[in-house]
């Protein structure tokens, strides 16, 4: 209990204090790092405990379950919490090394972390929405952390589109409450089966649209490239490495855990949309030249893989979804951080991330693709399996092409190198992250174990 409170609370309190200070000063950045580190360590300790002893939960204020607001750390939530917290920590460290240029940056990052950890560790749907808004509000301001006025336009689009998503989501939560009479996720999952498919399918569609917007899936992707292109490397890493996790987590939690029947009902649609995402994202990415733009379109494609895994469902499908979300988040963090740097070793780190996105062993991306293949093979229909395997292969081949086009044009081309290389510490950070990607690929057991447990949890339902 103290660990859950600490993981959420420490960055909240520090964020509030640091909001009043000038974030450009070094000590503010270091304080923020300390708070983020505490949050991360509590998350990891909590994760260890959850893996060993099962779900940790309590109700705020000591109220009985169903009356009070439950905080619940299960395998799925804690996995995403640790992942997002880690990504935010690394991005903040990166920004501190390079020098923060905005007075609000550290406080915003801490608020964002509070929202993210809160989302993943709450057991209450309305609280989910509240933390979701905390994280998104911080993200709106963070996307405006950029140099040129015209780039603020992208931040504005981001805010409007995501506010729309939030409204749709809160309507869905209200509808779910109307149908089940509870806001507790576990209770809602039990009761929603009695309501029948007819009213709940509409709710499921609304939830899908809300998280699809967040994740940047194919029909809802239009805001994504513009926002990423104008952002700082660290902000882009936070957006695609941490914030996009809300989308995958939300689809897993609400689709797989609370509304499994509706998910099965809508699976063909999700498979089609996921495939469209993969093909569209990859084709757009191949056609682009600037690294950030390529990776932004690639993010749309990668979101498609996660959607397909979730649509396949069952323990294997959900486990693949979790694994792919984790791997994708790590890949994207490394890629975006690397694009912001110059100097030797950065190219190598970028190449590893590119390998990983394309799914080449030994990088960890291979695991994600492998899990997807396994999930596709578990489908009942032969035609479906063949189509999916072909699609995953095609997507992988295309991502191989665009990754190496970029690598070639940015790092191999002998260019009249103007600027001086980035600070060594920042480059080392990127290299450490790259080593982590390869390390997890070489020793995949922990990741596989966690994702299998999480997948079983989602599939098993309450």
């Amino acid at each position: 209990m103290i660990l859950i409170s600490l993981a959420i609370g420490v960055t909240w309190v520090f964020g509030t204090v640091l909001a009043m200070l000038d974030g450009r000063r070094t000590y503010v950045g270091l304080l923020a790092l300390g708070a983020m580190g505490t949050s991360l360590v509590s998350g990891v300790l909590l994760g260890v405990r959850v893996l060993q002893e099962g779900t940790v939960e309590f109700v705020a204020g000591g109220w009985p379950l169903g009356l009070g607001i439950a905080l619940r750390a299960d395998v799925l939530g804690v996995t995403f919490a640790v992942l997002s917290c880690g990504v935010v920590f690394v991005s903040l460290l990166y920004e501190v090394i390079l020098g923060i240029r905005s007075r609000t940056f550290p406080a915003l990052v801490l608020f964002l972390n509070t929202g993210l950890v809160g989302i993943f560790l709450t057991g209450d749907m309305f609280n989910f929405y509240v933390f979701f808004e905390i994280a998104m509000t911080a993200a709106y301001v963070l996307t405006a952390y950029r140099e040129h006025d015209y780039q603020v336009r992208a931040a504005f689009i981001f805010a409007i589109v995501n506010l729309l998503g939030s409204v749709i989501f809160v309507i869905a939560v209200a509808a779910l409450y109307h149908v089940t009479g509870t806001l507790d996720m576990a209770l809602a999952a039990e009761r929603v089966t009695e309501a029948g498919i007819n009213p709940t399918i509409v709710i499921a569609v609304a939830i899908f649209v809300a998280f699809g917007l967040k994740l940047g899936l194919f029909p809802f992707h239009f805001w994504l490239p513009a926002v990423y292109v104008g952002s700082h490397a660290s902000v882009a890493a936070i957006l695609s490495g941490a914030l996009a996790n809300i989308g995958s987590y939300g689809l897993l939690r609400f689709g797989g855990y609370i509304l499994p029947e509706q998910l099965a009902f809508g699976a063909p649609v999700l498979l089609v949309l996921g495939s469209a995402s993969i093909v569209y994202g990859a084709h757009q990415a191949v056609a682009r030249r600037s690294p950030v733009e390529v990776m932004a379109y690639s993010a749309i494609g990668q979101a498609g893989y996660i959607l397909i895994a979730i649509a396949i469902a069952g323990p294997i499908g959900f486990a693949a979804g979790v694994l792919y979300a984790v791997v994708n988040s790590l890949n994207k963090t490394l890629v975006f951080l690397a694009t912001g740097l110059r100097g030797w070793m950065v190219g190598a780190a970028f190449a590893i991330a590119a390998f990983s996105i394309a799914g080449v062993p030994p990088a960890v991306g291979f695991l994600g693709k492998l899990a997807l293949f396994r999930a596709a093979l578990s489908l009942d229909s032969l035609a479906g399996t063949v189509t999916l395997v072909a699609l995953i292969f095609l997507g992988g081949a295309l991502s191989f092409v665009y990754s190496f086009q970029i690598y070639q044009s940015v790092y191999l081309k002998p260019s009249p190198e103007e600027g001086k290389p980035s600070p060594l510490a920042a480059r080392l950070l990127v290299v450490v992250l790259a080593a982590l990607l390869v390390g997890l690929g070489l020793y995949p057991e922990p990741l596989l174990y966690v994702s299998e447990r999480a997948g079983a949890l989602v599939a098993g339902g309450p």
């Binding site: 209990m1 409170s5 609370g9 309190v13 009043m20 000591g62």
Partner: protein
Amino acid sequence: MRPPAGDGKPLGPENGLTTDVPGGVPEGQTSVMTRAVSRLLLMPTIATAAAILVKGYVEPGDGFSAGVVAALGILMQYLAFGREQAERMLPLRGLGYMAFFGLLLTLVVAFRGPVVGQTLMTQWPLPGDAVIHVGTLEVITAVAFDVGIFLLVLGYGTGVISLIARVVGRAERRSKEENHRDPDEAYGEDMG
């Protein structure tokens, strides 16, 4: 819904009812009636807010709605007098910081529980324990929590509007005067 124009009578600067203040509301935008009424309504609004805050434990109301009411009362002054004059009449500078102090207070109360080994947001004193009274007011952490929410809402509401008014006012001044003012001068200490 613009209020009718003033009748042009000279107004006494001693009662804060002048219009020819630099950065104030241009003459004719708000009438003396509007200004006088909004000035008169300020204290009742604040008193109502305090009542909502305190009564929230037996009747509908809480820190949030109290904060909204109080913020509306202050925003009315901004509307009637313009930012600069309103801030000269009332101690409004730095009110935006109240949002942070309020949030801190709320968080401290909420996270007191886990620190002393109870669950999150546990009230002190516990139900059934003796309560310390100040007059007829019971001192419980729930009140502190709500005061924090009150400050948060009040500070946020007034702080954000004041900030927007400042930015808009600066843009207006710049376009009007085109003088040697440094455009970035006031960035950086805009909070509150």
